[in-house]
Symmetry: C2
Subunit: 206 residues, 2 copies
Amino acid sequence: MTGAQPYHHLNLRKTLLDAAVALIGEVGPRAFTLREVARRAGVSHNAPYRHFAGKDELLAAVAAEGFDRLTESMEAALAGGQSPRERLELCGCGYVDFALRFPNHLLAMFDLPQELREHCRQERELGGSAFAVLLNCILAAQASGDLPAGNPMPLAWTAWSLVHGIAKLSGSGNLPLDPQATLAFTRSAAAGLFSGMNAQAPDPER
Amino acid sequence: MTGAQPYHHLNLRKTLLDAAVALIGEVGPRAFTLREVARRAGVSHNAPYRHFAGKDELLAAVAAEGFDRLTESMEAALAGGQSPRERLELCGCGYVDFALRFPNHLLAMFDLPQELREHCRQERELGGSAFAVLLNCILAAQASGDLPAGNPMPLAWTAWSLVHGIAKLSGSGNLPLDPQATLAFTRSAAAGLFSGMNAQAPDPER
DNA sequence: ACTCAATGTTGACGCTGACAACATCAAGAT
DNA sequence: ATCTTGATGTTGTCAGCGTCAACATTGAGT
């Protein structure tokens, strides 16, 4: 041994996570291969098993990291807003901005089997945190009168659906807009949706 | 030979397609296995190669079938509408209705690698047909004055994003609504978005 | 110095997608 | 009636994958 490759990697876990994210971006989460991740990290094909129970748990870890960054992105975006309405719109922009900056994480978060997600509690909790950011924006807008009172959930689902749809369609190349234009479009669409939410009361039966 | 299992299957292609759809629904598009499809169809592990170039082409065929049914679903839904506005809303409901009825097809259509889709022309054409149904609804609404004039594309993208987001979130279990409630929610959200589209002019720079 | 738990490696097994070679059948040509 | 041919299904094979088991290496605490 020349010492160039120490036996212990010291933070192989992080290295594997980064390699996994990069690999997902190159080949998609379907062709994603645990052995290739190990290869890129410069370790044997079984080394990842010391840090993750298996392939699925590695992907779940990527997804968890993604939910973390999603929450950060939304909170950072809405921090610049001055009114509840503006903060809600910016929150949606933060969602799409995250999707544009970390498309590979988004794939791991939503393009993976549901049975895996059910099995992993951490991921659900982090997803809940992200949703809570949006829900708080809705609640604040309702409290200030910027949105009609009532059950906030339909409003939150609607807003989430819109930004999630933009994120997914953009990520799969179905929106012919560059990132900057996509964000501007998101802002515009969110503003339109916000106006519409005020123009009609939320579904009364729920 | 008892004659029970004729050597030639006669329409193995359709049998394989159906088996593939069922398998996607059971294990997801990621764990989807070409050999298991063949097994369920009662043929050898290499028989599918006589009808599809490989695993990806079989999945692409499922996606193409999905785009076909999506177009049908939207056209059937909007046929009941009496005004351009109502037809547009119903078109969105048709999108979500398709997603609820054929979730396995939706997975093949959007949860698959993009390099495959680029490679397959038929799928892009069928996707374009489906989008055209939506776009025509937008154009009709603009012509009748139900929607503001101008570039229809941002309006179409917004509407598509909303229903696509609802479809994807619902399909991944993130919207705690049963199918009927999901459709009602879609109608309500679409109506709200429609109102918002009128409350503000489309993005002028595009 | 010794122990030991953590971490990385090697080897193996069954499964998969894909290729090549062969078998079977239907139908038209001779 | 026989031959030929192309389409369709099968068997055999290979490398690569995820995962388990057994072994090797290392650093930290005694």
